[in-house]
């Protein structure tokens, strides 16, 4: 049996009321709010969060491959899945690939992962889909997009939703696009896109799948497919296919609270469906974008044994409303801003970061074999790598120690108004990890007024520096999210 063995999702903590777009620019506001990736988040960090949720109680060593689906990769040339593999503590002898450039890249990655398992090239594949698409300021699309990520682990053991079959359609139309130099999404007239593409391609893929599997609309307990820009068309397509509203995962909730999540949309909706799915149910999944991919899934008894995840639902509920639209412009670097009159921070050394890739991207520290003290160090003058134990003086006598999943307590903190920050003040915390070890970290996704000594925090993977096209990823602390 081949199928989904675990799922995870991530919705950024920050949400922007769509009224604030209209307040800034005038004109019409779509009802509801949208999710906004923080200044230190991008498609890579969102995908890592979703994958950590997905792998929360699973040994990362079982994963034989990682696919990262996005249309908003920080790199045109360089893999992101290799960065993510280190953050997720995956093995080195795995397949890593970024599936980019298509709103369908999430479901495409799902197809490729299933094929790899069917072909016995892999026993377990991790698929992540993540997007932080941007539309030009003042347009309606800026309001309708939203940031987020989903992750699915696929395999042949402990399957919670078997993939019965898949069916794909290829269809050429420049419905939405970004050329190599475009920052913002462009699109053709949506009425034509609906009539000639979405409303034809989606039914074609779903009907084709049902025909291929010998299933009919009534066989599915849950029907999950992503909506077009005008979400009202979603229900119309479903009705034309013969689905009842009770079978549908209504995209309204996600649209009203998160927004259209690009390549992460269909898989995030699937995670939401699986959170409620019962053994024995059949689930239909389809993803649209220059064609469509459709999947028939059979939920198994194993879904009841899957450990608790934050998934879509808990991440959706845990939120912070942004107080203004300007922060959105600042965080997405849409407008040039005054720079703090602080000294230049200098250049990234690829060599130094590469040497430390395991401890910087994976937050690996050491545990002294003699005195058993866990230690992590970064930010000293010549402190890395740790060669001598800070407590007992043992030399090179350590085991690797994973700090990335340790919870910690704020030992002391400051709210630094002087340090340059996209979300001032710069909250910096000295934290004591459960089971030992202490380190200084930035604190993110926090309300400055609520930070105090003794506050419980967890680690989160973020982007921390950008220089000459290179993005430095590292870990920050955050108040335990939910």
């Amino acid at each position: 049996m081949i199928g989904i063995t675990s799922y995870g999702a991530y919705i950024p903590w920050h949400r922007l009321d769509r009224q604030l777009f209209a307040k800034a620019w005038g004109g019409f506001a779509i009802p509801g709010e949208r999710a906004v990736a923080s200044y230190d988040e991008d498609s890579v960090t969102l995908a890592v969060e979703a994958a950590r949720d997905c792998l929360s109680d699973i040994d990362p060593n079982v994963v034989d491959g990682l696919l990262f689906a996005t249309t908003t990769s920080p790199y045109k040339e360089k893999l992101c899945s290799t960065i993510m593999a280190l953050a997720l503590h995956l093995r080195r002898d795995i397949q890593t690939a970024d599936i980019t450039g298509s709103l369908r890249s999430g479901t495409s990655a799902l197809v490729f992962a299933l094929d790899a398992i069917r072909a016995k090239r892999a026993n377990s594949m991790l698929v992540t889909a993540s997007d932080t698409r941007m539309a030009a300021p003042s347009g309606i699309t800026e309001q309708s997009l939203g940031d987020g990520a989903a992750a699915l682990l696929l395999g042949n053991k402990n399957v919670i939703a078997e993939v019965i079959d898949t069916y794909s359609i290829s269809d050429e139309l420049a419905a939405t696009w970004r050329c190599e130099t475009d920052t913002f999404v462009r699109s053709w007239e949506d009425r034509m896109v609906m009539d000639e593409s979405y409303a034809k391609v989606m039914p074609e893929a779903i009907s084709g799948l049902m025909r291929k599997c010998g299933l009919s609309p009534k066989d599915f307990a849950r029907v999950v497919f992503d909506p077009p820009g005008d979400i009202r068309r979603h229900g119309r397509v479903a009705a034309e296919l013969g689905f009842e509203p009770s079978q549908l995962l209504d995209p309204t909730t996600i649209f009203m609270n998160v927004g259209l999540m690009g390549s992460a949309m269909s898989l995030t909706m699937l995670v939401n469906a699986l959170e409620q799915a019962q053994p024995g149910e059949k689930v239909l999944l389809a993803g649209y974008g220059n064609g469509a991919d459709a999947f028939a899934l059979q939920v198994t008894d194993a879904i009841k044994k899957l450990g608790e995840r934050r998934g879509f639902t808990k991440h959706l509920q845990s939120k912070c409303m942004m107080s203004n639209y300007n922060d959105y412009l600042r965080w997405r670097e849409i407008v040039p801003l005054d720079q703090a009159r602080r000294p230049d921070r200098g250049h990234i050394s690829v060599a130094a970061n590469w040497r430390q890739r395991k401890d910087l991207l994976g937050l690996w520290g050491i545990k002294c074999r003699r005195c058993k003290t866990p230690q992590y160090d970064n930010g000293g003058i010549t402190t890395t790598p740790i060669r001598v134990c800070a407590v007992c003086g043992a030399v090179d006598d350590f085991d690797d120690y994973d700090f990335s999943r340790k919870k910690a307590t704020v030992f002391s903190y400051t709210q630094d108004q002087l340090a340059p920050a996209a979300d001032p003040p710069c909250s910096v915390v000295l934290i004591d990890f459960e089971d030992g070890g202490r380190m200084l970290f930035d604190l993110t996704d926090r309300n400055p007024d609520e930070v105090q000594v003794g506050m419980k925090v967890e680690m989160t993977f973020r982007k921390v520096y950008f220089d000459r096209g290179i993005t430095n990823y590292y870990w920050k602390a955050r108040p335990i999210r939910c």
């Binding site: 602080r342 160090d377 002087l418 920050a421 910096v428 030992g436 380190m439």
Partner: protein, 389 residues
């Protein structure tokens, strides 16, 4: 440790520039002005200098930084880089060379030209991988204030008021000092209402970022009286460097500076001081931030642990108090050109011991302590020098 520097070397001349945002002065101005004052004070000429040690962390590159402006001819010069303790470390190394009998007359000079950057703060504070949390120096010391308030149950108002009194005192002293960077008087209310720099520290909890230079001429103790009747003798020179474990293990309490305590203990032992609170007449400590001065009073055993507030409230450290601290205004008001600061502290103690401190003159001081702290509380390097008649 088998040896001691006590009474083996003496300072026979000192100089110090005005500190401040000296837009019209370059590094050579700072070095030449400080050294020329010191030479004149000692009654010697530049050709009498046999070797030199220079303390600077941003403005110097090697011994040539000092030979060039002074045109020192073919003598050995060493550049000492030891964070904010560089000035003291230049004096320490110069003193040891004299005590070893290698040279008779040497120069220690500290200088820093910070205000050529066009930005606030100190340059080059980022780590190599640009990943570490980006707290500023005020931020790093603010975390010590947060923890101190938390540990001793001070409300933010109580804690900030305690710290405000430190700054008010230093501004008063600085107002009496024509060479100080900041000479305005403050009130506790004004300190408390100042903008926050890094919570809980506000603008007036932070020292000045300044340009400046300071210099000392050092000779053997037995030769000192040939140069002047009132040389100042070095009683202790201790420096303590952190293994940087406070940041990575959970033992460190962040309400004291272990390196400051240890440097103080070692200096007291070297100088033969049993009761520092009674025996030390005055102190110039590294008050880069108000909380640093508060904690240092406890590290140096001037106040019991957790109880510096009582001494601050009682005015113990004011110019007229039992143990005046920062009689020249300290880093807070005299300013903080990094490499010069340690020698600037000694300059004030030297003037006070010789009765030349003008309006700031303390009544009949015998022993002065200077405390110079580098880096930040989680990984500092701290020096303590004691000088006396």
């Amino acid at each position: 440790m088998s040896g001691s520097i006590k009474d083996r070397v003496a300072i026979i001349g000192m100089g110090c520039t005005r500190f401040g945002e000296l837009w019209r002065k370059g590094p050579s101005d700072l070095i030449v002005e400080a050294v020329n004052e010191a030479l004149a004070d000692a009654g010697i000429e530049v050709k009498d200098i046999e070797a030199a040690w220079a303390g600077s962390i941003f403005s110097g590159h090697g011994g040539r930084s000092v030979s060039e402006p002074l045109r020192l001819k073919y003598i050995p010069i060493t550049h000492v880089v030891n964070a904010c303790a560089s000035g003291h470390d230049a004096v320490r190394n110069a003193s040891y060379a004299v005590a070893a009998g290698i040279y008779n007359i040497v120069l220690a000079v500290g200088f820093e030209k910070l205000k050529d950057e066009g930005t606030s703060g100190l340059p080059g504070m980022d780590n190599l991988t640009h990943t570490h949390a980006v707290a500023t120096m005020p931020g790093m010391f603010a975390m010590m204030a947060t923890k101190y308030f938390h540990r001793y149950g001070l409300t933010p108002q109580d804690g900030k008021t305690m710290l405000a009194k430190i700054s008010v005192k230093s501004h008063y002293n600085g107002s009496l000092n024509p060479k100080a960077h900041l000479r305005n008087l403050l009130t506790v209310e004004r300190v408390l209402n100042a903008p926050i720099i890094a919570w809980p520290l506000g603008l007036f909890d932070c020292c000045g970022v300044s340009d400046g230079g300071a210099a000392a001429i050092i000779t053997r103790a037995d030769l000192a009286k040939k140069f002047r009747k009132d040389p100042i003798y070095i009683k202790a020179l201790q420096i303590c460097t952190s293994p940087t474990s406070g940041r990575i293990t959970t033992e460190y309490d962040l309400t004291h500076v272990e390196e400051g305590y240890r440097a103080g203990q070692a200096a007291y032992a070297e100088a033969g001081i049993k009761n520092p609170r009674k025996e030390i007449s005055m102190a110039e400590v590294h008050d880069c931030f108000s909380i640093t001065e508060a904690v240092t009073m406890e590290d140096l055993q001037f106040s019991p642990r957790g109880r510096v507030k009582e001494d601050i409230d009682a005015g113990t450290f004011e110019l007229t108090g039992a143990l005046p601290v920062q009689p020249d205004g300290g880093l807070k008001c005299f300013g903080h050109p990094i490499g010069a600061s340690g020698i600037r502290m000694l300059y004030e103690l030297y003037l006070q011991l010789q009765g030349r401190a003008g309006k700031r003159q303390i009544n009949n001081p015998k022993l002065g302590l200077a405390h110079n702290m580098g880096h930040e509380p989680l990984a500092p390097t701290v020096s303590v020098c004691i000088v006396g008649l």
